[in-house]
Symmetry: C2
Subunit: 405 residues, 2 copies
Amino acid sequence: MALLVQKYGGTSVGSVERIQSVALKVKKARDEGHQMVVVVSAMSGETNRLVALAKAIQEPSNPRELDVLLSTGEQVTIALLAMALEKIGCPARSYTGFQAHILTDSAFNKARIQEIDDARVRADLEAGFVVVVAGFQGVDEQGDITTLGRGGSDTTAVAMAAALKADECQIFTDVDGVYTTDPRVEPKARKLDKITFEEMLEMASLGSKVLQIRSVEFAGKYHVPLRVLSSFEEGEGTLITFEEDGMEEAKISGIAFNRDEAKLTVRGVPDMPGVAYKILGPIGEANIEVDMIVQNISHDGTTDLTFTVHRNDYRKALAILQEVAKGLNAREVLGDDTIVKISLVGVGMRSHAGIAGTMFGTLAKEGINIRMISTSEIKISVVIDEKYLELGVRALHEAFGLAKA
Amino acid sequence: MALLVQKYGGTSVGSVERIQSVALKVKKARDEGHQMVVVVSAMSGETNRLVALAKAIQEPSNPRELDVLLSTGEQVTIALLAMALEKIGCPARSYTGFQAHILTDSAFNKARIQEIDDARVRADLEAGFVVVVAGFQGVDEQGDITTLGRGGSDTTAVAMAAALKADECQIFTDVDGVYTTDPRVEPKARKLDKITFEEMLEMASLGSKVLQIRSVEFAGKYHVPLRVLSSFEEGEGTLITFEEDGMEEAKISGIAFNRDEAKLTVRGVPDMPGVAYKILGPIGEANIEVDMIVQNISHDGTTDLTFTVHRNDYRKALAILQEVAKGLNAREVLGDDTIVKISLVGVGMRSHAGIAGTMFGTLAKEGINIRMISTSEIKISVVIDEKYLELGVRALHEAFGLAKA
């Protein structure tokens, strides 16, 4: 008998019929002898409906009141799912954030979980109930309702699993697992049975939107075994694991990509301490997130600094840079918002020089020019023109033999 | 400076625009220097929407989960109203049932308030906030969410007013006060400036659906001055008061009526102790509420017992009586579901014999036959054929000079 935490997102509980089919899945696991905690999101469309109501009244909306409003979405789902479970002979009890004692800080709209007092949930599990918990929400020390930000239901599930020391945290989504790359770009993409936390973090942050990145970090930190599965199809999904089989072997797990990038370059800035800070400081102050940063060696005492931002922030970043460049006596500011990033992700690739070579060679053979390169312990990222995205992903998928298991 | 509790029902907060206009009303009172607590219901239609969702899944729905579900309706309204208040420069803070520490028993769907810990609400009032409280909901000792049953928002308002020792509890509805009778039946009906609690209880229980009867009882018990006003029109409404001006004078406050009545008679039952119990016991066990009960003197050792029930329960009550009558050797069972009840309500009428005479004489003059009579300290009720309802109400309204102030 295991203790499982399952999480179903908005699409999975988007209608009465889908809630009923989630109930059947939960009952099946319980009939197999498992203790079950189920975390659910708001029915799809509900959060948007509530946000629209709030906007019609006050924009930006008072953060505290917005959380009072939004948290009702999940509260509706937990009640309906508990009813659906009881209806099919599976005693269940729902828990809002405050009832599950999910204590957070007071950062409304983006609160962080600090502690979970799971005494009552444990008692209900022992008594044979399925415990249904509202995702995305908590309560702060003053008793104010907080929400964890969009996608926070994944985090709730992982936090419950960590608090309860669950055997597994299963995230049910509309995909059946983590793939070697996006199947819409490369139809030969293969579902992975396993992936390490580090790889998953890279895949997630690079745009494979299967899991919310915070929840993966959280799971890694508290050593919660995490599994991604489909709500709609049978299957084992993908297990995100701590075991790294064959560490010595360079294993490419997949190819992630991100279409939302834009790059900016400040050319000919004096190569002296503090320059990077003078350029990137104002960008950060404007709340613009910087992704890749590349600075190469200098020529004649000056250097070029290039970085990428989200495409939505491109115009704003460009305007800021033009101001900054003046003060730095930089030669010019260049920008391009028609670029994409492709990354090869895999444990232990750093120590295998052949991999970078194969990657660059493959792209060259297809006539794809590489604009930027950045590497980490478990990934190699390149920036290329957006028109080459599909071609590049497919060529790399083939070159690293990812279609074969 | 007074402390006012205002309550706005579902129609008054039925849209974004209406919520904004409630905010203006609240701000106006606050600008006059009052401390404000506002209790709100779910937006009209919302509770029905949620009930329909629940029914689609489980019927009857699990009572605990139904309360988790339904309580979201008011939670949406408090957040939106708090935002609307803040938007117009009126700092506000919303409170769910658990946040306002409205402690109830555990009778889901029809919980009773046991205690309110108002420390935090008081602190917010002192700090200058308008406090917006979700009506209809509370929390039990285990931390489970409860609801007070339909119309329970009135009760929440009165309970908050009692706990805070508010100067007045103002119930805003879609009528502008309590009338001498229903203006749809008698266009000359006049709005009362004042009515006593006892009279209001009789008026409410007799079908003048202005206030939920429980909230009036509650207000009477805790001596909370209650005022009924219109959400949509300016005016002083009707104050429900403890002072009884001119007790010696018989004052008729109004004429209430109820169309939902049906009467049943068991004829020729042995006139002996326990007979009424033998007849009415099985009716009560079948959860049928009995309204008027009349038993006259006996003839030849037998008597007739007549009582009225809600029309919806008529067929069921008739079937039960036919069984009971056999065991009692009763002569026959008679029934009529085309009757109505009209009541004259006023303090001190019992001691003024002339009133009953005027009432019966007025009806006789219109050719209206009286089928049953029952009296209490502050009312005289008669049962007549339903076709005479409007005629009877208008004749009595005229006879007692209710159109004049």
